[in-house]
């Protein structure tokens, strides 16, 4: 047993805690790995890994297509649609960005006037950065939801023999759930503030709900109080690593450098983290 082929999801209740920092450095530390950026609203990992040989794949979603010649204006579909994505005036209007594509309109249409077409909602970019295969999802601007993008990303690595590091979207909404659903292990990253602790608790509730094994990385720790650490003690959460606040780290990170490639200290630090995770996953 080891970490090969396992899916490690990195998450945090709030953004900006260092989720991407932890993800890219873990991925870069391994001789071969997958890095999957599921934070499709604000993907950032590729800015650090700078992958090459990018292949782009469009991600589409099915939406209804109206055959206006067949539509006679029964409005059954308009009445049925729970999302209010359809309206009928002198012809049927489909609001594609509101449609969830449940298929209900097609089922209820007595004239068979509805079929499907594909609507582009974003893209994924697949590239390579040294030993890291990168998979990045991008939600198209002003598109409300990108669950199919996350599904496609995770599909790409589902049978990979390599370790996959999954950079999950912040929060605990459905996209975060989708991202961690099939993870073998979760890493929760938290800041040393009352905000951080509040959001760590949310992430904790989420991994508990999915009954995932997990550990916590405390980032940007300072001398003085750390409400997140207190919460770990209180809830008996395993602390995997503490990364002290460091201006050098801040600078390297702001420029998009990967710490483990630039600094011996951080290579060792993340080495210890990887070792701990490997042990935890192997349990």
């Amino acid at each position: 047993m080891g970490i090969k082929g396992k899916k490690i999801a990195v998450l945090s209740g709030k953004g900006g805690t260092g989720k991407t920092l932890v993800s890219v450095n873990l991925a870069a530390l391994m001789s071969e790995s997958n890095y999957v950026d599921c934070d499709i609203e604000e993907p950032n990992g590729y800015l650090f890994l700078k992958p090459k040989n990018i292949k782009t794949e469009k991600v589409t979603r099915e939406v209804p297509l109206v055959n206006h010649d067949k539509c006679t204006g029964y409005k059954k579909c308009v009445e049925f649609c729970k999302f209010n994505a359809l309206a009928y005036t002198s012809k049927l209007i489909v609001f594609e960005n509101i449609c969830h594509f449940c298929g209900g309109c097609m089922l209820v249409c007595p004239e068979g006037a509805l079929s499907t077409k594909e609507r582009e909602i974003g893209r994924i970019e697949i590239g390579k950065s040294s030993g890291v295969n990168t998979y990045t999802g991008f939600l198209k601007i002003s598109e409300p939801s990108g669950t199919p993008i996350i599904e496609k990303l995770l599909d790409k690595v589902s049978t990979s023999p390599l370790t996959s590091i999954i950079d999950a979207p912040p929060g605990s909404a459905c996209t975060t759930m989708d991202s961690i659903k099939n993870a073998d292990y979760c890493i929760l990253v938290a800041e040393p503030t009352v905000f951080g602790a509040h959001n760590l608790e949310m992430a904790y509730d989420l991994v508990e709900l999915f009954e995932k094994p997990f550990g916590v990385v405390l980032n940007k720790t300072l001398d003085g109080e750390n409400p997140s650490k207190d919460l770990c003690v209180e809830k008996d959460m395993k602390i995997l690593l503490e990364i002290p606040f460091d201006e050098e780290l801040g600078r390297l990170n702001s420029k998009g450098h990967i710490l483990v490639n630039e600094s011996k200290k951080y290579k060792e630090m993340f080495g210890i983290l990887l070792h701990k995770i490997t042990k935890e996953v192997g349990r």
């Binding site: 209010n84 994505a85 309206a87 009928y88 005036t89 002198s90 609001f95 960005n97 509101i98």
Partner: protein, 119 residues
């Protein structure tokens, strides 16, 4: 001519609603018959697409003129497709707005704000 106005209460004294899609009622006023009635806006509590559903209600009443303080993009798409004229409502009562409309003091609603998103 049939006029529709989003309103807060189902009474003649009601104020015009600030919202279109999530107003409580629509006043439907037939100027020829001088008859009015109130239609409950079943879209008001929708999780999403309230503007679209509200627009459908207005269209289904054979409305020719809509007086509303604002209109989302999606609702406007439906209203325009149905060739309903849209005037910008003033803050105030139904009566004040009907009078202003009659005296041609209301402007056509030109600005349409981007869609309302409720998932």
């Amino acid at each position: 001519m049939i006029i529709a106005i989003p309103v807060e209460k189902d009474s003649k004294e009601s104020l015009v609603s600030e919202h279109f899609g999530r107003s409580n009622y629509f006043l439907i006023y037939n100027t020829d018959a001088k008859e009015y009635r109130f239609v409950k806006n079943s879209a008001a509590k929708s999780s999403g697409g309230a503007g679209i559903k509200a627009a459908q209600i207005v269209v289904d009443e054979n409305t020719e003129v809509l007086v509303s303080p604002q209109l989302g993009q999606n609702a406007a798409d439906v209203i325009k497709e149905a060739k309903i004229k849209i005037y910008k409502a003033q803050v105030g009562t139904i009566k004040e707005n009907l009078q202003a409309l009659e005296e041609e003091k209301l402007n056509l609603l030109s600005e349409v704000h981007e869609g309302y998103h409720g998932n």
